[in-house]
């Protein structure tokens, strides 16, 4: 994979912008934070972490697309679809330092901004604002998880489908249908049937 310097600059700027939503960071503060970050690049269809491995990294997607799934009885249950600017990691494994039950696999060629477990602990100890930033980030993650879970329990298939495609219009083009169907807990056949709802001119 080859990418232009401008592409990295752009992605780094997005990261600054993304983090500043949680707490304002000066150029200098963001620069300090960057020294803890690694850039990791993967081709498409690569397992970034496999079941049984211990997750070393917390990743933000610079560009590309990845999914997280649980292998359950010969099936793969997609639990997350992440694109640019999204956080993705096997969190139980990362925090408890235990083998991962989940697999993270790229769908497109993907570049991650990653921070290792050890670097993250150092960052918390050495960089005063990190504590606040970390708390805001994790709170946001909790709220999103809670909303998604509540939606799964209260909304019907059609509502879940329509809300997802309206809030993530580009995903329908980029992600294989079966992954979205699995993520929304909709049968693939039902998903195909619902797709006519988003054909041009029928929105």
């Amino acid at each position: 994979m080859r990418h232009s310097i401008a592409a990295y600059k752009d992605a780094i700027e997005h990261l600054h912008h993304y983090l500043s939503r949680f707490t304002p960071l000066s150029k200098q503060e963001f620069g300090t934070l960057l020294t803890y970050i690694e850039v990791r690049e993967f081709e498409k269809k690569v397992r970034v972490i496999d079941a049984g491995q211990v997750e070393r990294y917390l990743n933000v997607i610079a560009w590309g697309l990845a999914r997280k799934y649980l292998p359950v009885r010969n099936k793969e249950i997609t639990v997350q679809l992440a694109s640019e600017g999204h956080l993705i990691h096997s969190e139980l494994s990362f925090h408890y330092r235990t083998p991962s039950a989940a697999v993270i696999e790229t769908i497109e060629p993907t570049v991650f901004f990653s921070i290792s477990y050890d670097s993250l602990q150092q960052l918390y100890d050495q960089f005063p604002k990190a504590e606040h930033l970390g708390r805001q980030l994790i709170s946001d993650l909790f709220v999103k998880k809670d909303n998604h879970y509540y939606d799964q329990l209260t909304k019907n298939t059609r509502q879940r489908f329509l809300e997802y495609v309206h809030t993530h219009p580009q995903m329908l083009q980029r992600v294989p249908q079966k992954y979205i169907a699995s993520y929304l807990n909709i049968k693939p056949e039902t998903f195909s049937r619902l797709k006519h709802l988003v054909r041009p001119g029928r929105r």
Binding site: I138, F142, V143
Partner: protein, 198 residues
Amino acid sequence: MLELLRQYVMGYVTLTPEDFSLLAEKIVVRQFDKRELLLRPGEVEQYMNFIVKGLARMYFCRGREEVILNLARERELISASSSFLSGEPSNYFIETLEPTTLLSITRDDLEHVYKQNSRIERLGREMTTYFVLEKEAWEHACMRLDTRERFLAFVEKNPELVQRVPQKYLASYLNMKPETFSRLKPLLRRRPLANVNR
């Protein structure tokens, strides 16, 4: 009472007595009878509550059905955390199941203490991380375990809740029909040692 809370938070981070007193100054004691509602859908959760004594549940209504998302007892937290963290109206009810004593702190007071002291902010981060991980672990369990395995995993971890919580609530929490729960209950008697040891 504060000693219980101190032990609890020290499980997450080490606080000096001065740190802890910053937190303790903001704590209020709240007492409830059984079957009192602490929160209704549409309200913003103002409190993070630590249970000193008693038992509470968090749930929402889907049609006529009550879906229980959380059951909390002594030395555990109960709060509509998502609303507490975001300031958005809650989707959930919180109700006591027994007479309950809570140590509570408001959103504003907690934010204020976070600003004063970075170790307490770390406590907030660690606890919120733990909430996320618990949620994740629960969702994984629901996907990976079948009904019977879910039942056994729960009763092994929470033997005394089986005595204290009405069966239909346990069934709802475990996402199974009350009949299924009844059918699985004999499994408990076959595992007396597991209960005694805990």
